[in-house]
Amino acid sequence: MQISAGNHIDLIVDGRECGKVCEINLLVRVRNFSGQVVLALEEDLIELDELGLYIWTRLDGRTSVRDLAELVSTEYQVPTKKATSDVAEFLEGLASRNFVVSVES
């Protein structure tokens, strides 16, 4: 298994290339302050909303973006296309700050 830590993960939406798998950067610290979940990588902080937390806790290095989108679609009753777009956008944001890495199986 190769890991490419990157500033950018190309998660193409709209039916194309969503089989990519992401996992959390293990150096990211996680704290839950009375329900407010904060990710910290060195001095960089990100606060997760409910959807963000839902996705974050499923970044296990095995679940693809497509599968994550399916889970989000079911859990939050949103169309798959919208879920895919939301998941991809969220992960790209995290990747740009090195909070997640893509995994090539």
């Binding site: 959390i24 293990l26 150096l27 610290r29 839950n32 009375s34 329900g35 806790t57």
Partner: protein, 261 residues
């Protein structure tokens, strides 16, 4: 599992007969494994006595604490083959320890200045069994529960886990075996955080971690056999070191999100 339990009447009578119950005692209570129902044939009987003024007895010896007065008088004796350890804390010392875990102290960075002996005292209050009047003990227990003691212990366990995760990630390619040990340590710290979070403290006494996990599996959400599998490294082989380490570290990180401070 064979366990020993507290016989309150025996303790009270024994202390009284030996002149070990000061007249100004506010509370006498059994603590530790005996109080928690975890004691085995080799366990000590640990007893705390809270007094108004320091207790002086010719058979006692001193244990240092960063409090005023700066010592806890302790007496060790054997009763029916069991080692009894009796510690005499003053009410003033207890108040000082409670101040160390209040909101103000938490913000300033507790628990670095709380010694093991003090931490053990506060932790043990929560599961203590009163011998005689329980009013003082009940009040103190409430004070601990309303303090930031729990949050501070959770934070410490999480911070330790962070540190071990960082070591493990760093070691993974250069020294995978070291990474395994660090990951295992991170796992234990994370388990401690889960247990601390539900008030099942004891990270300073590792020998009781299994008991704590078993006792708190409902409230902590950590199922015993899940814990046991990782604790005993059941799935680790020579061929899967890297994936095992990553699996453990991912588990630690995913748990962190669920532990509300």
């Amino acid at each position: 599992m064979a366990t020993k339990s507290v016989d309150v009447s025996v303790i009270e009578r024994e202390l009284a007969d030996r002149g070990l119950l000061p007249g100004d005692a506010l509370a006498v209570y059994c603590v530790g494994s005996m109080a928690r129902g975890w004691a085995n044939a080799n366990s000590d009987c640990d007893i705390y006595v809270t007094t108004v003024s320091p207790f002086v007895h010719s058979d006692s010896f001193s244990q240092a604490v960063p409090l005023n007065p700066p010592e806890v008088r302790t007496i060790v004796l054997r009763v029916a083959g069991i080692r009894w350890e009796i510690k005499y804390w003053t009410a003033g010392q207890v108040e000082q320890m409670l101040r160390k875990v209040n909101e103000e102290a938490f913000v300033e960075g507790f628990p670095d200045d709380l010694t093991q002996r003090e931490e053990l005292f506060l932790e043990r209050l929560l599961s203590a069994v009163a011998i005689g009047d329980s009013a003082w003990l009940d009040e103190c227990r409430q004070a601990v529960l309303q303090s930031r003691f729990r949050a501070a212990l959770v934070m410490r366990s999480l911070n330790r886990a962070d540190s071990m995760i960082r070591h493990s990630v760093g070691q993974l390619h250069a020294d995978p075996h070291a990474a395994v040990v660090s990951a295992h340590h991170a796992f234990r710290c994370t388990v401690d955080a889960l247990l601390d979070n539900v008030g099942c403290h004891g990270s300073r006494t590792e020998k009781w971690r299994v008991r704590r996990v078993r006792e708190a599996q409902q409230s902590s959400g950590l199922e015993f056999w899940t814990y046991w599998s990782m604790e005993t490294m059941r799935d680790l082989t020579n061929d899967n070191v890297e994936s095992w380490v990553k699996e453990v570290l991912l588990w630690c990180r995913s748990q962190q999100a669920t532990i509300s401070i």
